[in-house]
């Protein structure tokens, strides 16, 4: 708005001055996309005035010309402002960035009346059709000279290259081939026995599983050895075990690992415990069994995001939980309170599935086993301990392992309820953060993809080790039924 003021001023005060000459060149490809570089030479101009650019009859921009010193106006470097202009007083031998006032209005200063050159990269110029540019010189009170020329911006827009899917294709292709080759070898190896039919049955499932998940998992693992960051995707370099070192030496590692284990074990124990107890209760002859089972299964049927949000509302200081318990605890600020809360909600979510699975297993125990024990003089308690529980083991043992894996990587309960809980440690996981929710923060909030991948691989190895030890352990102790 400022330069309007100057122009009006210029029109009234213009003293009659000897004729000036104006010379304009334009360069269509020097200034980049949708920009044209226009350099203007003004000879023998004195006093103040302004230089206006008009593109296809609409005002584009203007440079204020002042005879005198620049004072404390800033000189933004190339690229710092929305567009760039330069001035030169030796007709273009060397250019200096133009001065701009606090609104960014360009000001060209010159001392003695000789050749003053102004160069501007005009923005917003069409690159598909020619526009006419009219450069007008004003002194303080009227227009002195005008030159019309045609301009067009020739630099093309450089679109970023589409993500090349070749590595993905290569990975999927190669993994598919290796799997087929592997199955071929295995089939040849079992050629003598009947077992080879099995391979044909397993192939489709295995292929689908590996096709979809091999590349992402492999990509994740490779990423964990690089310094990948959101700000440099595609140009990450290998940085050895640095990420893993960061993971193990990061401040909250032991704390978050400890809570993850507490979270997982408590959840699985209560899921199997309460689920088993409910299954046994429902095993007895009790009326309304269907109603009970359907009601008790609702937490599994209702989408977990709505139920978790309702629990969040109920654990609010004025929420239902505090009303029922007569307490005013702020479950979201105390660490232990928050941890108890998230575990209780996840137990509420996980029990139905276990209840159903265990009640299935219970039903497969024939009734006359119990009767035989009763006749043999075995008490109810001893029957439970020596018959029911051992016979449930072959079902519960693998079930608990799956429960462990699911709960260890259970993301959305904690994310929705506390988003990592009371954040009391700077730059570290929060109170109720478990490994997977912290991985989300590292990856999507901090953008450190390499480090997050390392965390994920650490989770993966821990789970794999635990499951391997668990299956080995349970195989040994499991009463081979």
């Amino acid at each position: 708005m400022k330069y309007f003021f100057w122009i009006i001023l210029a029109v009234f005060l213009l003293p009659v001055v000897s004729a000036q000459s104006l010379d304009v060149q334009s360069d269509s490809s020097a200034a980049g996309f949708k920009r044209v570089r226009v350099s203007v030479e003004i000879e023998s101009f004195s006093g103040n005035g302004s230089l206006e650019f008009h593109v296809s009859e609409t005002f584009h921009s203007a440079v204020v010309i002042i005879q005198g010193q620049a004072g404390e106006m800033t000189q933004p470097q190339v690229g710092e402002w929305y567009d760039d202009c330069w001035t030169s007083n030796n007709s273009g031998l060397n250019w200096t960035e133009i001065h701009r006032d606090e609104n960014g209005q360009a000001h060209a200063f010159y001392s003695s009346p000789q050749i003053l050159s102004i160069r501007c990269d005009l923005t917003g110029i069409s690159q598909s059709k020619e526009d006419n540019l009219s450069v007008r010189l004003f002194d303080e009170n009227q227009e002195l000279d005008r030159i019309d020329t045609a301009i067009i911006a020739l630099t093309a827009d450089v679109l970023p290259p589409p993500p090349d899917s070749s590595p993905v294709l290569f990975a999927i292709g190669s993994i598919a081939l290796t799997i087929i080759a592997l199955f071929g070898y295995l089939r040849w190896k079992d050629r003598k026995s009947m077992n080879r039919h099995g391979l044909a049955f397993v192939l489709p499932a295995f292929l689908a599983l590996v096709l979809l998940s091999f590349y992402p998992v492999a990509y994740g693992m490779v990423l964990s050895f690089t310094d990948a960051h959101e700000e440099s995707i595609g140009d990450e370099e290998y940085n050895g075990l640095e990420n893993y070192l960061d993971v193990f030496t990061s401040g909250g590692f032991l704390r978050v690992l400890f809570f993850t284990l507490v979270w997982t074990f408590t959840n699985v124990i209560f899921h199997v415990g309460i689920g088993g107890a409910l299954a046994m209760l429902l095993q007895q002859k009790v009326r309304g069994k269907l109603a009970y089972r359907t009601l008790l299964l609702l937490p599994w049927a209702i989408p977990s995001y709505i139920s978790v949000l309702v629990w969040k509302g109920m654990f609010h200081p004025e929420g239902l939980v505090n009303v029922l318990l007569g307490t005013e605890t702020d479950f979201f600020s105390g660490v232990t309170e928050a941890q108890t809360m998230v575990i209780l909600v996840n137990i509420w979510l996980g029990v139905p599935f276990m209840m159903m699975s265990i009640s299935g297993a219970l039903q497969s125990i024939p009734e006359d086993l119990h009767e035989a024990a009763k006749v043999e003089g075995v008490s109810d308690w001893a029957r439970l301990r020596h018959i029911t529980i051992p016979l449930l083991k072959p079902t519960v043992v693998p079930l608990a392992l799956m429960g462990f894996i699911w709960t260890f990587n259970m993301f959305n309960v904690i994310f929705l309820l506390t988003n990592g809980g009371p954040q009391l440690w700077f730059g570290e996981p929060g109170g109720t953060d478990i490994l997977i929710t912290y991985v989300y923060d590292v990856a999507f909030v901090k953008g450190e993809l390499g480090l997050a991948a390392a965390w994920s691989v650490v989770i993966f190895i821990m789970l794999m080790a635990f499951s391997w030890a668990y299956t080995k352990g349970s195989k040994a102790t499991e009463a081979a039924v």
């Binding site: 006359d368 009767e371 009763k374 006749v375 043999e376 003089g377 051992p390």
Partner: protein, 356 residues
């Protein structure tokens, strides 16, 4: 070992069906009683009430002198063998045998050497000492059956209860086990209550049988007595294969007439009159060459040692049994009676009359 007595026991399920209608039965100490009858006749329910697995609606049960009406199963000191053997799949044979003992209170639990001895003794008695370490699923049907029996015997129970223990075995093994069961019983002399629907088992195993139908005791007597003097048509038709011929009709003045068939009653039945059922076992049907009732042959089942002739006499189907040792074997070489113009007569002392 002690006897068992049922005094007027009744069992009505919650939904009102009456499984046992007032059964009175006494089993002497050391006796082998077989409860036999078609399925759903209440024999299993009776056994389960004795075992304490089903509660008693009315009446009283005594084991020895002690009444056990509402005692829990574990208090009755019984041994039971189930149809499905009900072996604990997750325990070895040895553990299966000793499970009951191991669960006793410390005061009464036999100490380990004693328990070892009991296991050895039972195992050798049943010939299962070589499979003590095996799991039930690795055993054959016969072995499982013996382990189940061993489990019941090891605690020296007052009474052994068996619920159709042989029905899961194949025919050959079943015969073998029947003989062995009988041998064991005679050797150890334990009181046994055995439930089966197979009348052959009943006849071969039982000291005395109790035939039941629709929750009511039909007859309680030694097997042969029931075979020869069935208390009613049901018992008659139930025991013996092929089943007894039963013909309903009218008897007066020594002559029995049924629709399209009439013949003179044997002497010992000559004074029976009125409506009733005439019964004669196929093996007692006399086959003659002439002057008797003409019988048309419908089919012959030749089993080698004997053949069953399906005949039709005046519109009534009659079965006759030819047995190799039968004295009037007409055509011994050809193994059986002629194929045509056969005459039969019912005049035999074993014939029976059931007045309606």
């Amino acid at each position: 070992m002690s006897g068992v007595s049922f005094e007027g026991i009744r069992k009505v399920y919650d939904d009102g069906t009456v499984a046992v209608k007032g059964l009175d039965l006494t089993i002497k100490d050391g006796e082998f009683l077989v409860l036999v009858g078609p399925s759903g006749c209440g024999k299993s329910t009776t056994l389960r009430m004795l075992a304490g697995l089903e509660d008693l609606t009315e009446g009283s049960i005594k084991i020895g002198e002690a009444t056990v009406d509402h005692l829990p199963a574990r208090a009755r000191g019984l041994g039971m063998v189930f149809q499905s053997y009900a072996l604990y799949p997750h325990m070895s044979v040895q553990d299966n045998l000793t499970f009951g003992l191991r669960m006793l209170a410390k005061t009464e639990r036999p100490d380990p050497p004693e328990m070892k001895r009991m296991v050895q003794e039972t195992a050798s008695m049943l010939g299962i000492d070589d499979i003590l370490e095996k799991r039930p699923r690795d055993l054959s049907g016969g072995q499982r059956q013996r382990v189940a029996l061993g489990r019941a015997l090891i605690r020296k129970p007052k009474v052994i209860l068996m619920d159709e223990p042989l029905s899961n075995l194949d025919a050959k093994l079943r015969n073998q086990m029947r003989v062995e069961l009988r041998r064991l019983h005679d050797e150890l002399g334990f009181t046994t209550v055995y439930v089966t629907h197979d009348q052959v088992e009943a006849m071969t195993l039982a000291d005395r049988i109790a035939v039941m139908k629709d929750g009511e005791l039909q007859q309680h007597c030694p097997p042969l007595e029931a075979y020869h003097q069935p208390a009613n048509t049901f018992v008659a038709s139930f025991l013996g294969t092929p089943a007894m011929n039963l013909i309903e009709g009218q008897a007066e003045a020594g002559v029995f007439t049924s629709n399209g068939l009439s013949f003179p009653l044997p002497d010992h039945l000559s004074d029976c009159t009125g409506k009733g059922t005439f019964g004669i076992r196929p093996e007692n049907v006399k086959v003659l060459k002439s002057n008797a009732m003409e019988a048309e042959i419908r089919g012959v089942e030749r089993l080698g040692s004997e053949s069953v002739y399906h005949l039709n006499v005046g519109g009534t189907d009659i079965k006759a049994l030819w047995h190799r040792s039968g004295e009037e074997a007409w055509d011994a070489e050809k193994g059986g009676w002629p194929e045509e113009n056969m005459f039969i007569s019912f005049n035999d002392p074993s014939a029976l009359w059931f007045s309606a």
